[in-house]
């Protein structure tokens, strides 16, 4: 049918751009990952050596664990907090638009700006958080030198930067929730909490799926905040896969190895997404 020719013709600009500027470089990245490239001069083909090295590299596994942990912690908290904030913000609230804008404001800042602000605020010597805690007589954690505290500081900053979008998305979705259904539930004697849990939340499933996809993608692209706030330290406590790939590729001059790590990240996220999509297929309409 001519129909689908037209479709592909209209898709052509996007296809060309993606194919040329993303897929082709990705193929090149895979090729580089199979060499001993240092970023300058000639590189020798080494097959799967870099991948073998990865398997035996404790730093890699630690970074992988940190990345997964970050995802497992930050995605649900952003979703839950965003949903909660949206519930608080919906109807019957003056200046709602202003609040919405305030919560979203950190999202539009660049990652580097957020990271620098975070680094400054959490500085364990002169940062405002520790100074305030000390004045209040509370213990002031070592945000840069203690592994757990460093991880928490990174998590808090990321949460601050990203949850705003979730709030906006849920807020908009909540406005579209059918009132009649809620009313019926109310009349049936459902408490507010029950209404939210058994009526509102399920109705927002598509939004939740959308939000989760967004948040997972954001987690795996986290780079600036970790690099600037903790540099992956102390002792690798906050090293995530992307920062490790960068350190190997651009600082240690192990371009092939850094590339291999990136390829692994991509593959794992891809497989996970395919798996999730497959699982979702049963419950959602196939678009």
């Amino acid at each position: 049918m001519r129909r689908w020719l037209t479709s592909y013709a209209l898709l052509a600009p996007a296809l060309v751009l993606f194919g040329l500027f993303v897929l082709y470089p990705l193929v090149q990245a895979v090729r580089i990952s199979m060499t001993d490239s240092t970023g300058i001069g000639e590189a020798r083909f080494t097959g799967l050596d870099n991948y073998a090295r990865m398997v035996g590299d404790p730093v890699f596994w630690r970074a992988a664990g940190n990345t997964v942990l970050l995802a497992l912690v930050s995605v649900p908290t952003s979703v839950a907090a965003g949903f909660g904030l949206a519930l608080l913000l919906r109807d019957r609230l003056p200046a709602r638009g202003l609040f919405r804008a305030l919560f979203l404001a950190p999202y539009v800042l660049s990652g580097v700006v957020v990271a620098m602000a975070g680094r400054w605020i959490f500085d364990q010597e002169v940062g405002v958080v520790d100074r305030t805690l000390t004045q209040l007589g509370l213990p002031a954690p070592d945000w840069q030198s203690s592994g757990a505290a460093a991880a928490v500081s990174v998590f808090v900053v990321l949460f601050w930067a990203r949850t705003g979008l979730v709030v906006v998305l849920y807020l908009s979705a909540l406005q579209g929730v059918d009132r009649d259904v809620l009313e019926a539930a109310e009349l049936d004697g459902a408490s507010r909490r029950q209404r939210v849990r058994y009526v509102t939340w399920p109705l927002l499933r598509p939004t939740t799926f959308f939000v989760v996809v967004l948040m997972v993608v954001e987690v795996f692209q986290t780079f600036d905040v970790v690099r600037v706030m903790t540099g992956g330290g102390p002792a690798g406590a906050t090293e995530i896969l992307v920062t490790y790939a960068y350190a190997q590729g651009f600082q240690a001059r192990a371009e092939g190895y850094g590339s291999a790590i990136g390829v692994v990240v991509f593959s794992v996220v891809l497989l996970a997404t395919v798996a999730a999509w497959w699982a979702q297929r049963g419950s959602e309409e196939v678009a």
Partner: protein
């Protein structure tokens, strides 16, 4: 490239409208220039915003506020002496390796760039750099340690432009309060024991300050090897092919430096992946810090009194090889002109002027460092000149091997674990040697 500064108008001008017109005019002019340059950014003739001078040489470098004018003076003097214009491309320090590496992959690589002694070998090994003609004539004028950093059996690739090293900066107040006298010469530098004693005497009463921070953060991780060399140890074997196992000197150095953390003499975030030692000195978290002479201008901005003294010594007095070389790119089409510029920069007078302006040390033996007109703290620079005499060949040869970028990253990461962890010294040392061994290339 410095911004054009609009002339400030006199504040109490009777005709305010004229002032406003001037300012508006200047603003419109600036905006127009900006706009025109922006429009040219859409063209793909790779010339950037300014019309390309075909004979122009481009040089990629990082440069502190003090160094930019010093480099520009070199370029101006070279042009005045009849050479082509040298255009500086200043990039942020943290990005310079990436900027250089990517630029080298293009058809119009930079003609020149600045590179540290620890990174230059990687480029040299790949044949990226141009061989300096007449190198053997130049060689005698230079101090051998620096010449060896840019030379191998195939030739000399670039000129050792300047060097710097570290000393111990001390807060004057802390010194007075602890009743210390600073050693006046290299021979009388504190021993490790004396140094530890000094730290304990300086140990402040406030809970949030510490005696010392050492400058081994991030790219400076290799400065930990100073301690190794001071204790008579070695990281790499004599033939530079492998790593020395269980070296007693290295073990002693590791033990001593870990004690700094274990005894709370240095803050935990002064570890190798932590905050710069000079930063901690500037915000008064530490009373002593190890710092290079190129930082003096920044430390001055702290506004408090400070002095310098020599690095502690053990079996040896050993200082780190800091500083950078200027190199020319082999594949550049203006290679000969670039090499001319290098030779120009390597002359005694040029080197002296640059070092004085940037507070770094010359690499030529015929440049009398003591007679240079240092821009900042000439009294301390005299001491740095003395300290630089302790840059020893055994250490230098270890830090200029081609795989040193990777070794530096290993040192940074393994030392961080050692300093903040609780493994015993021998196990920590083994982690370090294992890590370094995994990246040393024959």
């Amino acid at each position: 490239m410095t911004a054009p500064r609009s002339t400030p108008s006199t504040p109490r001008r009777p005709r305010a409208s004229a002032t406003r017109r001037t300012v508006l005019g200047a603003g419109a002019g600036a905006a127009a220039t900006a706009g025109l340059t922006a429009c040219s950014g859409f063209s793909t003739d790779a010339s950037g915003g300014t019309p390309a001078d075909p004979d122009e040489l481009t040089m990629i470098t990082w440069a502190s506020e003090a160094e930019v004018p010093a480099f520009e003076k070199l370029a101006d003097d070279f042009a005045a002496a009849g050479g082509p214009r040298v255009r500086l491309q200043v990039v942020p320090y943290s990005q310079v390796l990436t900027a250089v590496d990517t630029a080298l992959r293009t058809d119009s690589p930079p003609d020149l760039f600045r590179v540290s002694y620890t990174d230059v070998a990687a480029y040299r090994e790949q044949g990226v750099l141009a061989d300096l003609p007449g190198a053997s004539d130049l060689e005698p004028a230079f101090l051998p340690a620096f010449w060896s950093a840019v030379t191998d059996e195939r030739g000399t690739f670039g000129v050792p432009h300047h060097t710097d090293t570290s000393m111990v900066l001390v807060d004057d107040e802390a010194v007075a309060a602890a009743g210390l006298t600073l050693p006046g010469s290299l021979e009388r530098a504190w021993t490790w024991e004396e140094f530890a004693d000094v730290l304990r005497r300086v140990q402040p009463t406030r809970a949030d300050t510490y005696p010392v921070a050492v400058n081994w953060q991030n790219a400076g991780a290799f400065r930990w090897l100073n301690w190794v060399d001071q204790a008579g140890g070695r990281l790499l074997t004599q033939d530079l092919d492998g790593v020395v196992e269980d070296d007693p000197g290295t073990l002693k150095a590791l033990s001593f430096t870990r004690d700094l953390f274990r005894q709370g003499l240095t803050p935990p975030n002064a570890s190798t992946r932590g905050q710069a030692a000079s930063d901690l000195f500037l915000n008064r978290t530490v009373a002593l810090c190890f710092a290079g002479d190129f930082l003096l201008a920044e430390i001055e901005s702290g506004g408090f009194g400070y002095s310098a003294t020599f690095l502690p010594r053990d079996v040896n007095a050993s200082a780190d090889l800091g500083g950078n070389a200027l190199v020319a790119v082999e594949a550049g089409d203006k290679r000969d002109a670039a090499l001319d510029f290098l030779a120009f920069c390597a002359q005694a007078e040029q080197m002296g002027d640059f070092c004085a302006a940037a507070t770094v040390l010359p690499t030529r033996s015929d440049v009398d460092a003591a007679s240079l007109d240092w821009k900042v703290r000439p009294d301390l620079m005299e001491l740095y000149v003395q300290q630089a005499e302790a840059i020893r060949a055994p250490l230098v040869e270890q830090v200029v091997v081609p795989s040193f970028s990777a070794i530096n990253v290993q040192l940074r990461d393994r030392l961080e674990e050692a300093f903040l962890g609780s493994a015993d010294d021998r196990a920590a040392l083994r982690d370090i040697t294992e890590g370094v061994r995994s990246v040393v290339r024959a």
